[in-house]
């Protein structure tokens, strides 16, 4: 009591009122916009998000180190505030707020739910990861089968299981089964220990259950559950893929015939992140496709581009209608017309005439003043149209198709290969690909089963494709000449030294 009075005396009057409830001011400034003033997850921005911001009044948290249904620890809450929730709109605050502000936020968040007054977190003993390796991963795959993880996450882990279209969170909003090949988006972190923790705790508020009971009732061993975590981790690249702006088209003697041609393994894969198109109405606030992987090859005559991306649905698909209805009911839409399933789409756009010096056209489909050349693939009917774009959705087909293409849908992944001659028939209407030259390109992807289309989809900034030049003959001859010359010179020096040594037998003694 005395201490409190002393503290009050120390704090200036105006500040005392603001600090009444630690964390409140910080919360209202940085958090309430999404999570709402009363913490009910109903801030102004909430309906633009999928998944929705957390409703703190329920005291139900996904990422914990505690048993299913249990409250999180303070450290669990701090971790989410610090690191954010990758793959969602929740950013990390470690670098934006002071440690004290983040700690105050933890206690303020807890004040939203009465459960923090009556219940205590039930900590789980999580232990340490056993050694991994190829055998561990192979066993993990078997346990993945036994536990039927594929029901939601799919055979290849891409979130395309048979139950995926039906999944909802506790509030009835649609929720994706995690794409296990994108560890970068794992809410609780990408480390094996963190994946194992999610298997033990479940992700409360979502369909993801806890497997702790399966271990305690000896349906599986704890080690087997670790194996699942190790297997799941193995599905993603070890490191977050780097973004590189220039996509190299390798020069090859023969182009692959289809996107699943093994020859594609010879071309580097480039990671191109996409974001929801939120500039032109109607906007896309919760897009399905968050990245495409691009490979390119040319044979001096034609350019082949292979684009692959994950989409759990091959649209349109009646199985996903339930999903679309939920998305339409949950996420704000600019258009008030009925939401229908369309095809999946991928659009590649190029400046009409590529010049490395000129600034490329507007990245969202060009403009009427500076149109773009468009390759427009759709899944149903499976076709590529070429033409001119004067803005998103403002597409005019060209006179004749010069591309050939092949597409393939495999366990939640689209693979599309589009091939065209380096020089088009009409060089004024379409880009010329020149070996040694850069051609800008940008991407648009849309998931028809989520109500996306060529306007409401995900978009990239401008990238560029660079075509390898044939290696000139002198590159091989010059090193040979240099090697012969160096060897000859060396031989000459040695022979001469040997000759001199024979001529002057006492030279060693003189030197010492």
């Amino acid at each position: 009591m005395t201490r409190r009075i002393l503290l009050l005396l120390l704090v200036p009057h105006g500040a005392a009122a603001a600090q009444d409830t630690p964390g409140k001011a910080t919360y209202e400034r940085w958090c309430a916009g999404c999570h709402g003033d009363a913490g009910a997850g109903d801030g102004e921005a909430a309906s633009y998000m999928l998944p929705r911001p957390r409703d703190f009044t329920k005291g139900v948290y996904q990422v914990r180190t505690t048993a299913s249904g249990s409250l999180p620890t303070d450290a669990d809450l701090r971790r989410v505030i610090d690191e954010g929730m990758p793959g969602t709109a929740m950013p990390g605050w470690r670098t934006r707020l002071s440690e004290r502000e983040r700690n105050d936020l933890v206690s303020y968040l807890k004040s939203f739910s009465r459960f923090f007054q009556t219940d205590t977190p039930e900590l789980l003993e999580l232990g340490r990861a056993p050694g991994g390796g190829a055998d561990a991963i192979a066993e993990g795959r078997q346990v993945y089968e036994t536990l039927e993880c594929f029901k939601c996450h799919g055979q290849a882990g891409r979130g395309d299981g048979t139950s995926a279209p039906t999944l909802t969170d506790d509030d009835g909003h649609p929720i994706r089964a995690a794409d296990l090949t994108k560890a970068r988006n794992f809410n609780g972190g990408a480390a094996v220990e963190q994946i194992y923790a999610r298997l033990r705790t479940g992700l409360d508020g979502t369909p993801m259950p806890s497997f702790s009971d399966a271990v305690t009732s000896s349906v599986i061993t704890d080690e087997q559950l670790w194996r699942v975590a190790q297997y799941v981790r193995s599905l993603s690249p070890q490191r977050q893929p780097a973004v590189r702006e220039v996509i190299r088209a390798h020069l090859v003697p023969q182009l692959p015939a289809s996107p699943d041609d093994t020859a594609w393994a010879g071309a580097e894969a480039y990671f191109v992140p996409l974001v929801g198109q939120i500039i032109v109405a109607p906007r896309s606030f919760a897009p399905t496709v968050d990245a495409v992987w691009v490979r390119a090859m040319h044979d001096g005559e034609r350019l082949a581009i292979r684009i692959a991306w994950h989409d759990p649905s091959r649209s349109p698909d009646p199985v996903w209608q339930e999903w679309l209805d939920r998305v339409a009911a949950s996420v704000h839409r600019d258009d008030t017309t009925g939401v229908v399933q369309g095809p999946d789409r991928l659009i590649l756009q190029f400046p009409v005439s590529a010049s490395p010096d000129a600034e490329p056209p507007f990245f969202l489909g060009g403009s009427s003043r500076r149109p773009v050349h468009v390759w427009r693939w759709e899944s149903e009917p499976d076709r590529v149209q070429e033409g001119s774009g004067a803005g998103l959705g403002q597409f005019t087909p060209g006179p004749a198709s010069q591309t050939t293409h092949a597409s393939r849908f495999d366990n939640g992944e689209w693979q599309v290969q589009i091939t065209r001659a380096l020089t088009p028939v009409d060089t004024a209407a379409a880009p010329v690909f020149t070996p040694g030259g850069l051609v800008p390109l940008a991407f648009v992807a849309a998931d028809g089963s989520s109500g996306e289309n060529e306007v409401q989809g995900s978009v990239s900034a401008w990238y560029a494709v660079y075509l390898d030049i044939p290696t000139p003959g002198r590159v091989f001859v010059q090193p040979l000449v240099a090697a012969v010359f160096t060897a000859g010179l060396g031989l000459f020096v040695i022979l001469r030294a040997q000759r001199r040594e024979r001529g002057a037998p006492d030279s060693h003694a003189e030197a010492s």
Binding site: G59, S68, T118, E148, C152, M208, S210
Partner: protein, 255 residues
């Protein structure tokens, strides 16, 4: 201070539901420490019959083609038994004493668990009641993965995976709550509803629509009947010791 108050209240046999989840939780794990505070019982009985007036809606068909092991348990296309009507009588109605018992009366949780079975990718029973602190034993009789998610608002929920046939899990609830929805996310059609009660005066209407609540002390009670799609109805009933009263409810479009 709070703890002292609780102890004092216990001494006065007045520990009630208002005492908070923490107390009830202790009861669930440690047996029956609240036995000393047992609420009144008696010999009165309330019986009734639930009618369904009008045409019963058709229950939606379930596509179990992805779960052949479950599908094989049915001779014809299974339907989701949301509204079960036999000869104009409605089953799966949760009927319970909503008010009329002394404030704060608590009853010891029976040692025997309440069993919820997953069989043929449906819950059995679909509607059930349990006492605060009583064990809910969840059983998987299907050779497929089920997850059992409880989505309460008053209690804490849970979400357990049961990947194999024969697996059982047990959970308890701390506070009265009508109703706690239970669901399986692998099979989106699977729903069950659990009434968590502070007293044993509840029943679920049988296939013929009848129910019986017995062992009540004499008194006047508000009885509530709850159905998952048909809503809630209440009725006041007065019953004497050793006597019997009738509480018939009617649901449906023509009710």
């Amino acid at each position: 201070m709070k703890r002292i108050t609780t102890v004092l209240l216990s001494g006065l046999f007045l520990v009630g539901c208002g005492g908070g989840g923490g107390d009830a939780s202790g009861g669930g794990e440690g047996g029956t420490p609240a036995a000393a505070a047992t609420g009144p019982t008696g010999t009165a009985t309330i019986t009734g019959s639930i009618s369904f007036a009008g045409a019963a809606p058709a229950n939606p068909a379930i596509d179990m083609s992805e779960e052949q092991a479950c599908r094989d348990k049915y001779q014809s296309q299974p339907t989701n038994p949301q509204v079960v009507v036999n000869d104009g009588k409605l089953a799966n109605v949760f009927v319970y004493v909503k008010s009329g018992l002394p404030d704060g009366a608590t009853y010891p949780a029976p040692a025997a668990p309440v069993v919820l079975d997953q069989d043929g990718c449906l819950y059995h029973p679909r509607v059930l009641g349990i006492l605060v602190g009583q064990s809910l034993e969840i059983r998987n009789s299907d050779p497929v993965l089920h997850n059992i998610k409880a989505v309460p608002t008053v209690n804490r929920g849970f979400n357990i995976s049961q990947p194999t046939a024969g697996m059982t899990s047990s959970r308890t609830f701390n506070s009265p709550e009508v109703m706690v929805p239970l669901e399986c996310n692998v099979h989106g059609w699977m729903n069950a509803y659990l009434g968590v009660m502070s007293h044993p005066f509840f029943a679920v209407s049988a296939e013929d629509g009848t129910f019986t609540i017995s062992g009540l002390p004499a008194g006047s009670y508000e009885i509530e009947a709850w159905h998952e799609t048909q809503g809630v109805k209440t009725m006041s009933v007065t019953v004497a010791d050793g006597g019997s009263a009738t509480a018939d409810f009617s649901f449906g479009p023509s009710a």
